[in-house]
């Protein structure tokens, strides 16, 4: 009986195939494109590499980051939403939006948006951990 069970497990693992991730979230460089934002009020340093995608929405992300640096949160959000309409599955957009919501004292919305980021992050483990850290920090507060 033990052997049959063992055989079943071996068989099962042999015929399990890795799931196919969609092409638009396959990139393993998600972490590189996460922002490295920090704001005293939250005390959480996002640790992305803050690189911009070469895709058209990269320009909008740059403008969003500039607005964030100038503490113009409204404009920052507007740029991010424009970027989101172009690249609906870019995790870095949702991470930024989540941080913004958190800053604007909307923790529920921040949490939900971070979860959205997690759902589109794909297979980049570093990025996944960073988003999970963001989620944990929002929950803690």
């Amino acid at each position: 009986m033990k052997y049959i069970l063992l055989l079943s497990v071996v068989l099962l693992s042999a015929c399990t195939t890795p799931v196919h991730y969609p092409a638009d979230i396959l990139s393993s460089e998600v972490f590189d494109e996460l922002p490295n934002w920090y704001d005293d009020r939250l005390g959480l340093q996002l640790q992305g590499n803050n690189q911009y995608p070469s895709a058209p929405h990269g320009v909008l992300l740059q403008q969003a980051d500039l607005a964030f640096a100038q503490n113009n949160l409204q404009n920052c959000q507007i740029y991010l939403e424009r970027a989101q309409r172009i690249a609906t599955r870019d995790a870095s957009i949702y991470v930024r939006l989540s941080y913004l919501y958190w800053l604007q004292e909307k923790p529920t919305q921040a949490l939900q948006t971070a979860r959205r980021a997690l759902s589109v992050v794909g297979q980049d483990e570093l990025a996944k951990k960073e988003i999970q850290r963001l989620i944990a920090s929002i929950k803690q507060n």
């Binding site: 099962l12 195939t17 196919h20 969609p22 058209p56 507007i78 309409r85 948006t113 959205r116 759902s119």
Partner: protein
């Protein structure tokens, strides 16, 4: 005798003095009242300015899937003129696969876009290169299409201008034609009245009015169109008061903004500012002399001399005005001669001769009412920026109309008996991009997209299957019995659903039952997973209506509007993340100051794994199920997902489908709720296909997580097998909810329910 006369005289005199005193008091009170009225109007807010509603501004960037014809359509709609050589803002030219646009300056809620030359290069169906003022650029925006207004009850629309905006030629012509003594009189012109009297006596009727511009303004501002001596007298008194308080320039500026200059549907065009845009597609300061003559000529009779509706009258009247201009030396005899020969050159399409989108505007208005008073919307000149995509809207309108016409012709039904509605939204942002509420899309009336509550039929099924996949008992290959089923109701009634083909299909795997839309299997599944759980899933998907936990809800025996259905399916299309559908992005004041913004909001209501599976199941509906028609219409690589729905006795035909970026819900039915000879596939599905056939869609890739695993399953036994074995198919599962049985290629147990599905 003399004494008697004296006393009579004194008595009459006494009466006269008393009456005069009373008259004086009445006159003084009247003047005080009129004075207050005049000052109140002039010093307060003079005009109720309707809110202006704009579509989304088109974003241009390299890689954007956009056919040149759609960009040209958009440019034409926003009033750009196609020219051989682009020279000024508002023009564009096309050569080969390139388009050159001179964008106008535009102020949006999130900033300004300067006037600039935008150069676009296309490959077969996408933008391959973009330059702004000669420099390569990543992204550029066009100005948004004005799609309508929220008017006060009187439907007046205007674009306010200042006196400095108006060309001198316009002012001089207006004064020369309407009131030559304007700068000399005090509000009324005895000379003008005498001249009018003479002309009217000569012609034997009322041909010419003696009203000054001030009187005309007073009449439009304060009085009715009634023709009576009393009204004329009040008009004259008020004109005097206006002249007493305000200088000529203020009066002229008010006149320029107030005067009525024609009708555009239900909207009344007021003022030279809006009229110059409406008739000539240009700012008032850019009007040419013959255009000025046309507009000034319209003052006398806006309907009679309307250049769009009665061009011959308008040309004749314009030439009369040009004659006056020449007589007053405002133009030369040569110019008079040359311009009298010209066409009117009114624009056919302009921002201000807009196509209105009543169903979408209705949605905008309802969403605005949450934050704004009706009075603010109709009087403050607010600017409302929405998410409407005119390209998709137009395609949806055409598709609804064409398919309904075709069905009526093919089935020999009475014309215009069928109705349709459609809602298109972005799957991720929840922004509504198109709404059709009637087969006549210009109809301002019952908005079926929002208000037609209809039985949703099989569109309810994904919620049932989702409920099953959220639990622990079910996966894609769990066998479900599609045999006959009877459920006893509380009042002794028996609910006995049947399949569309009136056949039972025995034991079928779960995914197949959904793809083929089997009613009996779904009813049984719904009862097994628990009706309260199904109701709860509907709630999580965004159905706000409290549904009764009756067995028949699993087959959609309850009513929702197409908009409600779109909300429900948006959650599925966005992998379990519900985003409230919204039509508005932002509202600003008339000066452009941001009042409110409606940003991205999201809430995960369904876990990613079951959402992934239900998307996969809905892809099967398109691949092998009731929506396979889409396979013949769209590239397979789009991986479209969808669900057809047909309510009891074919009273409603539904389809909802989504790609990676767009979700659309279509309903077809009759207002009298009579049956139709079509199902969801024959009606609504075709409209969906027609709408998106020529539009770019992004492929749909359901989002997996590490908790999703895939296994090859032996179709005969339902057991986990291996890739190279015969008769296997790969299925996704949530980790821990995989089939328990395993098999290899050699050892196959006897035939199972799979054989019935796929044959021997």
């Amino acid at each position: 005798m003399k004494k008697v006369d004296d006393s009579k005289f004194k008595r009459y005199l006494g009466w006269f003095i008393k009456l005069s005193l009373v008259g004086l008091v009445i006159f003084t009170v009247l003047m005080a009242y009129l004075d207050a009225k005049v000052r109140d109007k002039f010093e307060g807010k003079r005009w109720a300015l309707p809110a202006k509603v704009f579509a989304r501004p088109m974003e241009l960037y390299s890689g954007l899937a956009l056919k040149p014809k759609y960009l040209i359509q958009e440019l034409e709609q926003i009033g750009y003129q196609r020219v051989p050589n682009v020279q000024t803002p508002g023009q564009y030219m096309v050569y080969g696969n390139e388009i050159d646009i001179y964008r106008r300056y535009v102020r949006l809620y999130d900033g300004e876009e300067a006037a600039a030359r935008i150069h676009i290069r296309f490959d077969s169906s996408a933008i391959s290169g973009l330059w702004v003022d000669g420099a390569p650029t990543e992204i550029a925006r066009l100005e948004p299409l004005l799609i309508g207004g929220i008017y006060p009850k009187h439907n007046e629309d205007r674009q306010l201008i200042q006196l400095e905006d108006a060309p001198d030629l316009l002012l001089n012509t207006l004064v020369a034609v309407e009131d030559r003594d304007f700068y000399n009189h005090w509000g009324i012109s005895p000379k003008g009245i005498a001249r009018a009297l003479m002309v009217n006596m000569q012609k034997g009727g009322l041909v010419q009015g003696g009203s000054t511009l001030t009187q005309q303004l007073v009449k439009n501002f304060f009085l009715t169109r009634e023709r009576s001596l009393q009204r004329k007298a009040i008009e004259a008194l008020m004109a005097l008061l206006v002249e007493f308080h305000y200088d000529k320039n203020e009066i002229l500026e008010a006149y320029l903004n107030e005067v009525y200059l024609g009708q555009s549907g239900r909207r009344a065009v007021h003022g030279f500012g809006l009229a110059s845009q409406f008739y000539f597609g240009k700012h008032i300061r850019n009007l040419t002399a013959p255009e000025i003559a046309t507009l000034v000529g319209m003052v006398k009779g806006p309907s009679l001399y309307n250049p769009k509706r009665k061009p011959e009258n308008a040309i004749a009247r314009r030439n009369v005005v040009l004659g006056v201009m020449q007589e007053q030396s405002l133009i030369t005899p040569y110019e008079y001669k040359a311009w009298s020969m010209r066409d009117l050159d009114v624009v056919q399409y302009s921002q201000y001769q807009r196509i209105e989108y009543p169903a979408f505007l209705d949605l905008v208005r309802r969403q605005l009412r949450r934050d704004y008073q009706e009075n603010d919307l109709t009087s403050e000149g607010l600017r409302i920026y929405t998410s409407l995509d005119p390209i998709i809207q137009r395609s949806a309108e055409q598709a609804v109309k064409k398919r309904l016409d075709d069905i009526e012709r093919d089935y020999k039904l009475e014309a215009n008996g069928l109705q349709g509605a459609m809602v298109v939204a972005s799957t991720e942002s929840g922004e509504v991009e198109a709404v059709v509420g009637d087969r006549n899309p210009r109809y301002f009336g019952f908005n079926r997209a929002l208000d037609a509550k209809r039985s949703i039929g099989s569109l309810a099924k994904p919620a049932v299957y989702l409920t099953a996949l959220r639990g622990d008992q079910y996966n894609f290959v769990t066998p479900i019995d599609d045999g006959p089923i009877k459920v006893a109701g509380a009042n002794g009634q028996v609910w006995e659903p049947q399949n569309y083909d009136h056949k039972s299909h025995g034991i079928v795997p779960l995914y197949q039952a959904m793809a083929k839309s089997f009613n009996q299997a779904t009813a049984r599944l719904g009862l097994n997973v628990g009706l309260s759980n199904v109701v709860s899933t509907f709630g999580d998907l965004g159905v706000e209506r409290k549904l009764p936990a009756y067995p028949s809800i699993v087959l959609g025996a309850f009513e929702l509007s197409p908009f409600n259905v779109a909300q429900m399916y948006q959650t599925i299309a966005a992998s379990g993340f519900k985003t409230p559908l919204k039509a508005i992005r932002a509202v600003t004041t008339s000066e452009g100051d941001l009042l409110s913004r409606y940003g991205y909001e999201v809430k995960q209501t369904i876990k990613t794994e079951p959402a992934y599976l239900i998307q996969k199941a809905m892809q099967q509906v398109v691949k092998i199920g009731t929506a396979r028609f889409l396979n013949s219409q769209f590239d397979e690589s789009l991986n479209l997902a969808g669900k057809t729905g047909t309510s009891d006795s074919q009273r409603d035909s539904w389809f909802t489908g989504f790609s990676g970026d767009k979700l659309a819900v279509v309903w077809v039915g009759r207002d009298d709720n009579k049956t139709m000879p079509i199902t969801g596939s024959g009606g609504a599905l075709r409209i969906w296909a027609h709408t998106f056939k020529d539009l770019p869609l992004k492929p749909l890739f359901p989002l997996p997580t590490e908790n999703i695993v895939e296994h090859w399953v032996d179709l005969e036994t339902g057991a986990i097998s291996q890739e190279n074995c015969p008769g296997v198919m790969k299925f996704p599962f949530i980790n821990g909810k995989t089939p328990v049985e395993t098999t290899d290629c050699q050892s196959k147990p006897g035939k199972a329910w799979w054989s019935k599905l796929f044959g021997e």
